[in-house]
Symmetry: C2
Subunit: 202 residues, 2 copies
């Protein structure tokens, strides 16, 4: 692998990891260079618009990665098992980062730079996750309910990650998972055969 954009990709991956822990304001170019091992010249070569551009790229990369995970988990048509997998995914990330990990996309949303590109990238990312979840849930419950469930799953997991970070244990994520499971049970009850068509709205 000696592709020309290797340095850029390494920097973005480092920025995702650092942004997860330190937020946008706490992630300096110097830290990203140190973490990624990319040469100093990469900064203005790959990110001519500066740190804001890197923050937006990291937010987008983080959002795309989660979107891919969600699509994969939901592919089997079983929202409850997908939820379990999604919680397990986050639990793994949190453990790996010694309970200091947050979500890189939430970090983008919390960027307070006026007209922030990271905030726009976060909005696009959340909106994409919501669409993926809504489509999956809408195979089992009416669309309006599917949308509410989708927003709530995203919000509750994002909030749980903040509580986990404060408390230093996975307990909040586990409690939230139990309650989300209760809400999602509706997606099974209306469609016991789980063939994804019983109450499909279209």
């Amino acid at each position: 692998m000696t592709r020309r954009s290797d340095a850029k990709e390494k920097m973005i991956r480092s920025a995702v990891r650092l942004q997860r822990m330190h937020g946008v304001a706490g992630t300096a170019f110097a830290d990203v260079l140190a973490d990624s091992g990319a040469p100093r010249g990469s900064v203005y070569h790959h990110f001519p618009d500066g740190r804001a551009q890197l923050a937006a790229a990291a937010t987008e990369h983080g959002a795309d990665w989660i979107a891919g995970q969600l699509e994969q988990l939901l592919a089997a048509g079983d929202p409850l098992r997908a939820l379990d997998g999604f919680i397990e995914l986050w639990a793994g990330i949190v453990r790996e980062e010694q309970y200091m990990a947050g979500c890189a996309v939430a970090a983008g949303a919390l960027d307070s730079t006026p007209g922030s590109a990271a905030r726009r990238a976060a909005a696009a990312g959340f909106s994409r996750w919501e669409r993926i979840l809504t489509d999956a849930f809408a195979a089992h419950v009416p669309v309006a309910q599917a949308e509410g469930l989708a927003v709530t799953c995203i919000a509750a997991v994002e909030g749980a990650l903040i509580l986990v970070r404060a408390e230093g244990t996975l307990r909040p994520l586990e409690r939230v998972a139990e309650q989300l499971r209760q809400l999602l049970v509706a997606t099974q009850q209306t469609d016991p055969a789980s063939d994804g068509t019983a109450s499909r709205p279209r």
Copy 2:
């Protein structure tokens, strides 16, 4: 009002507001002084341990304020109406700050300073909110369920605030409120008289 600690209180209130918008890392002493109008000398007089001490004080103040609001809203013994009031409270704060407001306590939790006092204050605050909500819900449902509901209400609202900030509308908070209402309905169903004793666990 010419109490000696006026400058300190003003600084803490300003720090809560700024931390809500810019996080701990984005809230400098200079901004707090400008916002509060407190004299420069106040900084090391009132916060000899520096910015970390002010961030912790702001996190604690924000947590205490929310705890007081929760206690007041729950005093009537009706969790569903208390939820509505809590959502309306946050909607008001968000509108007032032009959708840039987050939660000052979440900001404390996201502080990434090693051994952060703000993070400890956030943990204590979340834990206090959880106790208040658990006690209220436990008057209607078993304690384990009450704890799960409490954690989920806090997490979902915290996460919704992040989505609201990204999207620039109150829609995520409204959708989350609807789903939390569904979960909390259990606190009414097991205790239709709402006299707070029917299924009290002790």
